[in-house]
C-alpha cells in the first residue's frame, strides 16, 4: 500500500509536468492549428537554458527560472515568425512536418552545443525528504506539483480575465470572425507560441530537476501527446487531467512491471481512448460540415 502511494505521488508529480507541457501544446493547437511535434524538444531546450543560467551565468535559482522563461518566450515568438507564419493555411501534414523538422534541428543543435552526456543542475529546487507516517515524499515532487498547479491556474486566470486572453479564446473559436472584429491574429499567434514554449520550458526545468538534463528529455516530452489526446485535443482542463492520468499510469506500470511495459500501457490507453471516445475525456465532439 505504501509502495502504491509513493508511486501515486511521484506519478502525480511527473503527471503535473506532462499536464503543463500538454497545456502549452493545446494552447498552440487551439490558437494556430499547429500540431507541434517539437513540444518535447522545446522542453529539452528549457532544461538546457536553465542549465546555462545556473552553470554559466551563476544566477540564483529563482532568477534562473525567470531568465529561462523570458528566453523561452522570445524563442517561441521567433519560431512563429520565421517558421510557422510562412506556412499559415498549408495542409495539416505540411505543418506537422515543419514541426518535425524543427525537432531534428533542435535535437542536433543541443548535442552540438552541449554534447550528449548527462548534465545536472548545479543548484536545484529544495529536494529534502518529507515523512508523513510511513510515507516518504520528496519535497521536489511536492514543489513541482505546487508550481504546476500555480502555473495552470495563472494561465486559466489569464484566459478568463485579460483582454489578450479573451482575444486568444476568440481566435481559437473562430479565426476569421475574430480577425473581422479587429483582433490582430498575428499577434495572437505569436503570443500563443510564446506561452506554449514557456510552458514546455517550465516542464523542462521540472523534469531536469527530477532527472538529469540530457537530449533524451525530448522523448519524455513525447508523452505529452497521449496526455493531450486522453484529455481532449481542444480542452485546457482536459490536458491537465490527461497529464495527471498518464503520469500516474506510467509510474504505476513502471513501478510494478518495467519501463518498456509502461510505454505499452500508456499507448494502449491512448489507442483505447481514440477508438472509444476520439474527442477525449473532456473534449467536445466536433461537428463537421463538408
Amino acid at each position: 500500500m505504501i509502495f502504491f502511494l509513493q508511486l501515486l505521488v511521484s506519478g502525480l508529480a511527473v503527471g503535473s509536468v506532462y499536464g503543463l507541457v500538454a497545456l502549452g501544446f493545446v494552447l498552440i493547437f487551439k490558437a494556430t492549428d499547429v500540431f507541434n511535434f517539437a513540444q518535447g524538444d522545446l522542453l529539452a531546450v528549457g532544461a538546457y537554458l536553465m542549465f546555462v543560467a545556473l552553470a554559466v551565468f551563476n544566477l540564483p535559482v529563482a532568477l534562473a527560472i525567470i531568465a529561462t522563461v523570458v528566453a523561452a518566450g522570445i524563442l517561441g515568438a521567433m519560431l512563429q515568425r520565421v517558421v510557422f507564419k510562412p506556412l499559415q493555411g498549408q495542409p495539416l501534414l505540411t505543418v506537422v512536418m515543419a514541426t518535425i523538422a524543427l525537432s531534428l534541428i533542435i535535437q542536433g543543435a543541443l548535442v552540438i552545443i552541449f554534447g550528449s552526456q548527462d548534465l545536472s543542475f548545479p543548484r536545484t529546487l529544495p529536494s529534502s525528504i518529507v515523512a508523513i507516517g510511513a510515507l516518504r515524499l520528496s519535497m521536489l515532487d511536492l514543489i513541482i506539483m505546487g508550481c504546476s498547479v500555480v502555473c495552470v491556474s495563472a494561465f486559466a486566470l489569464f484566459f478568463r480575465y485579460t483582454s489578450l486572453g479573451l482575444q486568444m479564446r476568440a481566435t481559437a473559436e473562430h479565426p476569421e470572425a475574430a480577425a473581422l472584429s479587429g483582433i490582430n491574429s498575428d499577434r495572437v499567434f505569436t503570443v500563443a507560441f510564446s506561452i506554449g514554449t514557456v510552458t514546455a520550458a517550465l516542464g523542462g526545468i521540472f523534469l531536469g530537476s527530477l532527472q538529469v538534463v540530457s537530449p533524451t528529455l525530448s522523448q519524455i516530452g513525447l508523452l505529452a501527446f497521449p496526455a493531450v489526446v486522453v484529455g481532449g485535443l481542444t480542452s485546457i482542463p482536459g490536458s491537465v487531467i490527461g497529464g495527471l492520468l498518464i503520469g500516474v499510469l506510467q509510474q504505476l506500470s513502471a513501478g510494478y512491471f518495467d519501463g518498456a511495459v509502461a510505454s505499452v500501457v500508456v499507448y494502449s490507453g491512448l489507442l483505447l481512448v481514440l477508438l472509444l471516445r476520439p474527442q477525449g475525456l473532456l473534449g467536445r465532439p466536433s461537428v463537421q460540415r463538408h
Partner: protein, 357 residues
C-alpha cells in the same frame, strides 16, 4: 493555375505504358544506365557514393513509394511506417531464419503479414481522420516495437535478430553487387505496381478520397473499404521493404525502427513531392545521398580549423540532422510541391518554349 500541356483525349492514352516516343528513349537509356552502374562503380565509389549506399537508397525508394501511396495519394496520415518495416523484418525472421523458407517466398509472406497487420491498423481510420489517425498509428508504432523487442529477446537475445544469406534458387546473394540487381528488380516492380494501381479505378478513387471524401462517397466510392485497401497495399510494400532491409543488413535490432526512421521517410516524400511517384524516388535518393555528400564535404575540412573544424569532426551526425531539418523547412516554404514539382514546371517551361508557361 497552369494549363496542362497534354490532355488525354481517350482512355487508351491513359493506359499506355509510355506517353510519348521520347519516354521510350528515356526508359531505355535509364535501364542501360541502371544495369551499367555497378560495373562503373566497381568496388570504389562514384561521386562519394558506394554500392552499399545505393542499395540502401533502393530500399528507401520502395519504402518511400509505399508511404507516398498512403499519405501522398490517399491522404491518410500514418506514423506506422517504422512499425511496418519492423513487421516485415519480424516476419522475415520467422519465415526466413526460423522456418528456412526460400527467399522469394519469405518476401511474399512478409508482405502478406504486413498487409494483414495493415488491415488491422487501418481499422481506426474508419472512425478517425487527420491528427487522430496520426496519433493512433503512433500508439501502434510503440506497441509493434514492444512486440518486436519481446520476439527478439525471446528468440535471439540482446545482440539482435539474425538473418541467413538470401538465396534465389542456387544463387547466393552475398555481395552488394548481387543485392543491387535484386533490389533494382524489386524497385522496378514496386513502381510498376504503384503506377498501375494509380491508373486503375481504385487508384483514382484514392486521389478522390484525399481531395474530398464526401464528394468521393457521393460518386459511389466505398470510403471504408478503400481506406482499408490503401492501408493493405501500402503496408504490403513497406513490409517487403522491411524484409529486404533485414536480409540486406543481416542483423537487426529494435533500435533500427525509431520515430526518426518514420521522420526520415516523411522527409523523403516531402522533399521529393507528395502525391508523385517520381517524387518518391527523387526524395529517397536525395535523402540517402545528401548526408554522404555532406559527410565527405565535412571530412575535407581540416579539424584544426578554428570554431567549426572541431565541431564538424565530432558531431557529424548532428550537423547532418540540423542541415536536413533546415532543408525540409526550406522546401516546405519555397517549393511545397517538392522536387517533382520543380521537374514538372521545368518540363512544362521547355515544352511550351518560346511561350511562357
Amino acid at each position: 493555375m497552369q494549363l496542362r500541356q497534354h490532355l488525354d483525349t481517350d482512355y487508351q492514352r491513359q493506359l499506355r505504358l509510355f506517353g510519348s516516343p521520347g519516354a521510350v528513349v528515356v526508359a531505355i537509356v535509364a535501364f542501360a544506365l541502371l544495369m551499367a552502374l555497378p560495373f562503373l562503380i566497381g568496388r570504389g565509389t562514384l561521386a562519394g557514393i558506394g554500392l552499399a549506399a545505393i542499395n540502401n537508397a533502393l530500399i528507401a525508394i520502395i519504402g518511400a513509394v509505399a508511404l507516398n501511396l498512403l499519405v501522398g495519394f490517399t491522404g491518410l496520415l500514418s506514423m506506422g511506417h517504422a512499425a511496418f518495416f519492423a513487421v516485415g523484418a519480424m516476419a522475415a525472421a520467422i519465415f526466413g531464419t526460423q522456418l528456412e523458407l526460400p527467399f522469394p517466398l519469405v518476401l511474399l509472406a512478409s508482405g502478406l503479414c504486413g498487409a494483414g497487420i495493415g488491415v488491422i491498423v487501418g481499422l481506426p481510420s474508419l472512425r478517425l481522420s487527420g491528427l487522430y489517425l496520426l496519433l493512433s498509428t503512433l500508439a501502434l508504432h510503440f506497441l509493434t516495437l514492444y512486440a518486436f523487442l519481446q520476439y527478439q529477446l525471446y528468440n535471439f537475445g540482446l545482440s539482435g535478430v539474425f538473418y541467413p544469406t538470401a538465396m534465389i534458387g542456387p544463387i547466393e546473394i552475398g555481395t552488394d553487387h548481387r543485392w543491387y540487381f535484386v533490389l533494382v528488380a524489386c524497385v522496378v516492380a514496386t513502381i510498376l505496381i504503384a503506377r498501375n494501381v494509380l491508373q486503375s479505378r481504385e487508384g483514382r478513387a484514392f486521389v478522390a478520397l484525399r481531395d474530398h471524401p464526401t464528394a468521393a462517397a457521393a460518386l459511389g466510392v466505398n470510403v471504408a473499404v478503400l481506406r482499408i485497401k490503401a492501408f493493405a497495399l501500402s503496408s504490403f510494400l513497406v513490409s517487403v521493404a522491411g524484409a529486404l532491409f533485414a536480409f540486406n543488413l543481416g542483423v537487426v535490432t529494435t533500435d533500427a525502427f525509431t520515430l526518426h526512421f518514420v521522420v526520415a521517410y516523411f522527409a523523403m516524400i516531402i522533399i521529393g513531392g507528395m502525391g508523385s511517384l517520381l517524387g518518391s524516388v527523387l526524395g529517397a535518393v536525395v535523402w540517402e545521398f545528401l548526408p554522404q555528400w555532406l559527410a565527405s564535404a565535412a571530412s575535407n575540412i581540416d579539424p584544426a580549423t578554428p570554431v567549426i573544424g572541431d565541431t564538424l569532426a565530432r558531431h557529424q551526425a548532428q550537423i547532418i540532422s540540423v542541415v536536413m531539418g533546415c532543408i525540409i523547412i526550406l522546401v516546405l516554404i519555397r517549393w511545397p510541391a517538392g522536387l517533382a514539382g520543380v521537374v514538372r514546371s521545368t518540363v512544362a517551361a521547355i515544352r511550351s518554349w518560346p511561350y511562357r508557361s
